[in-house]
């Protein structure tokens, strides 16, 4: 199947409005970050008991989505599943935008962001027993590898596409297992401490990656007036079903391991305590129950319902991360036998603070903006077929309102450019 890729021209009103709105929100995020940097982290909801807040939630969420969508893109370029080819480039572009967002999220969560470089002084100023330092290698390498991967795909070298794709898939899996290890190796936090965490993270990553890809695919095709291949969406949704089932199994095993052992207070609290509704309604409900109810129902096998199921998974995995980082960290540690009185034995509270939320919103919009700019400056979208063009022309009589597509001349000098450089400064 020969397929040409094009970029959107980005002259339509909708595109400009989208970029403008996202740019404005990004500015808001920057202002929030500046405030927190100048004033201190008391503007955040985190405390000495719940040390990590929204930026870390976003970081691991984005890393998951990024690793997931990169792994999926290798379906095309390594495993030769030609039917997924139209979304291959978009998946890689998305992976780069998301990992950039994740790195920024980690950086702005640091108390001294100007010391960010200290995370990357491997083996010299870094303590390599730290999971953070090891993940520094993984994240940095992943960023470079995925940009090079996009460059290779755009250049169209088939052999290197395959070789580099193999490297990328392995590295992406490592990246997310490493992220899981940050939490899973913490013996002091009872609810986090489980060897299954890296695998659970990896599965959640791939699940949310597939779901996000379906969402982005449907949205992009709709807004740029292309025809959506239904068989592609259905086969992706089948993949999604399998991953959701594996994820549900891993979550079940994780909780059961903790509940079976006599030291079960922390997990029991997270399943029945104040924040249990986040787990049951938002995590289990949105990631497992609702999507599976839709996907297993033959009558609902339409694009609209698959879209709803995918959105539900993407949102639900966010709350899975949220539940892990914030409520589960809030359970007090048992310093001494007995019931610990006062604040040191109380469950930690997390306040929703405007500055933190503004900053998180800014990180979200930055990822969206990078993706939009990537669509404009890189040839990531599949070309319209002759029939689609004809249908679009018939539907819209004045062709000027239609999103124009460059099919003949590629924009010179933009192929292979990492989208990071396209960020307006």
């Amino acid at each position: 199947m020969e397929l040409n890729f094009v970029s959107v021209e980005g002259n339509s009103k909708n595109y400009k409005i989208a970029v403008g709105v996202l740019g404005g929100l990004l500015l808001l995020g920057l202002i929030c970050f500046g405030t927190s940097y100048a004033k201190g982290h008391y503007l955040f909801g985190s405390s000495n008991q719940i040390p990590w807040g929204m930026p870390i939630v976003l970081a691991i969420y984005f890393i998951g989505l990024s690793a997931g969508s990169l792994i999926l893109s290798t379906l095309v370029y390594v495993f030769g599943q030609e039917k997924y080819k139209p979304i291959g480039r978009m998946a890689v572009l998305l992976a780069i935008a998301l990992i950039f967002g994740a790195l920024i999220a980690i950086a702005v969560d640091l108390g001294r962001p100007e010391n960010f470089w200290r995370l990357f002084m491997f083996f010299y100023w870094n303590n390599m027993t730290s999971m953070f330092a090891i993940n520094g290698i993984l994240y940095g390498g992943y960023f470079v590898i995925s940009i090079a991967y996009l460059g290779i795909i755009l250049s169209g070298n088939k052999i290197w596409m395959k070789r580099w794709g193999c490297l990328a898939i392995g590295w992406a899996a490592l990246v997310h297992m490493g992220t899981g290890a940050i939490f899973g190796f913490m013996a002091a936090r009872e609810a986090w401490f489980t060897p299954i965490k890296p695998l659970e993270f990896l599965t959640a990553a791939v699940t949310s990656g597939v779901a996000l890809l379906i969402v982005v695919l449907i949205l992009t095709m709709k807004f740029t007036g292309r025809d959506l291949r239904k068989d592609m969406v259905t086969s992706l949704s089948r993949l999604l079903t399998i991953f959701i089932c594996i994820l549900a199994l891993l979550i079940f095993l994780d909780k059961m391991t903790h509940l079976y052992a006599p030291e079960r207070a922390a997990v029991l609290y997270s399943l029945t305590g104040h924040y249990a509704w986040i787990f049951w309604c938002l995590q289990i409900g949105l990631v497992v129950v609702l999507p599976l109810a839709i996907l297993f129902n033959k009558k609902l096998r339409t694009i609209k319902w698959i879209f709803i199921a995918s959105v539900s998974v993407v949102v639900g995995v966010f709350f899975e991360r949220f539940f892990l980082v914030i409520p589960q960290a809030g359970f007090p540690q048992q310093y001494y036998p007995g019931h610990i009185e006062g604040v040191y034995g109380a469950v930690g509270q997390f306040a929703i603070m405007p500055v933190e939320m503004g900053m998180s919103l800014g990180i979200f919009t930055m990822v969206g903006l990078l993706f939009l700019l990537g669509l404009k400056f890189l040839k990531a979208l599949p070309e319209k077929t002759a029939e689609e063009l004809a249908a679009a022309a018939a539907k819209l009589a004045p062709p000027k309102t239609e999103e124009a597509v460059k099919t003949d001349i590629p924009p010179a000098g933009t192929a292979g450019t990492p989208p990071v450089e396209n960020k307006p400064s």
Partner: protein, 228 residues
């Protein structure tokens, strides 16, 4: 090389919090507002927890003062990505403010909740430490003397007192002790060299039943508790 440790007699402790206040004064730890107290955003290097057991007629409360345990096998040092937390040759676990990036991973890893994050720019005076470094062979890197927001802080066993005493030839454990030990009105705390058989702490540990907190974590704390 000495291996500094502390022994706290739970039988003598009354939970008066004098140690917490002395620590705040000595190390110039900022005082938080009630709102910050409620949100647990005020830094404490030392805390006293109350652990209760049983119901009313047979209820029992144990007051447990908790400084940093200065573990021989510190979980915080293991996870610090930037070598900001390090263990000195004499066993004191220190935080280098120059290197700390404020990732809070050590706070997640510490099983004793001994670490506190500095949530805002403090009005207080600079962190009171003697400058310049006295014994580089002993202490390794010299920590940044001024505190800024966005860094993790912790108990230092009042290392500045120890340094000074070593220089002036004073006896550590009898003449010079950390601020919390000095302040304790009930003489519940003893400080000294755990490796020195003649020291007060070594004698107490050999004569009385002692425990360390959360032994299952394998951190080997150097703060020991004498049981009632």
């Amino acid at each position: 090389m000495a291996r500094w440790g502390m022994v706290i007699d739970l039988d003598k402790c009354t939970g008066c919090q004098e140690c917490t206040i002395a620590c705040k004064e000595e190390n110039n730890i900022p005082h938080g507002s009630p709102e910050e107290q409620r949100r647990r955003q005020d830094p404490y290097w030392h805390k006293v927890i109350a652990a209760s057991e049983g119901e009313y007629p047979t209820a029992h409360i144990e007051m447990v003062p908790m400084p940093c345990m200065h573990c021989d096998n510190p979980a915080c040092q293991m996870v610090c990505p930037c070598k900001a937390t390090y263990r000195r040759n004499d066993g004191i676990v220190m935080q280098n403010f120059r290197r700390c990036i404020g990732c809070k991973y050590c706070m997640v890893a510490c099983p004793y909740g001994a670490r506190a994050y500095n949530y805002k720019e403090q009005e207080d005076l600079p962190y009171d430490r003697i400058d310049p470094p006295l014994r580089r062979d002993l202490i390794g890197n010299w920590p940044f003397p001024h505190r800024a927001h966005g860094m993790v802080e912790k108990c230092t066993f009042c290392f500045h007192r120890i340094e000074k005493a070593l220089m002036e030839g004073q006896q550590i454990g009898t003449e010079v002790v950390p601020a919390c030990v000095e302040a304790c009105p009930a003489h519940a705390r003893t400080f000294g060299d755990l490796d020195d058989p003649d020291s007060e702490v070594a004698k107490l540990l050999s004569n009385r039943t002692s425990i360390t907190l959360r032994e299952a974590m394998g951190t080997k704390p150097k703060v020991h508790y004498l049981t009632k």
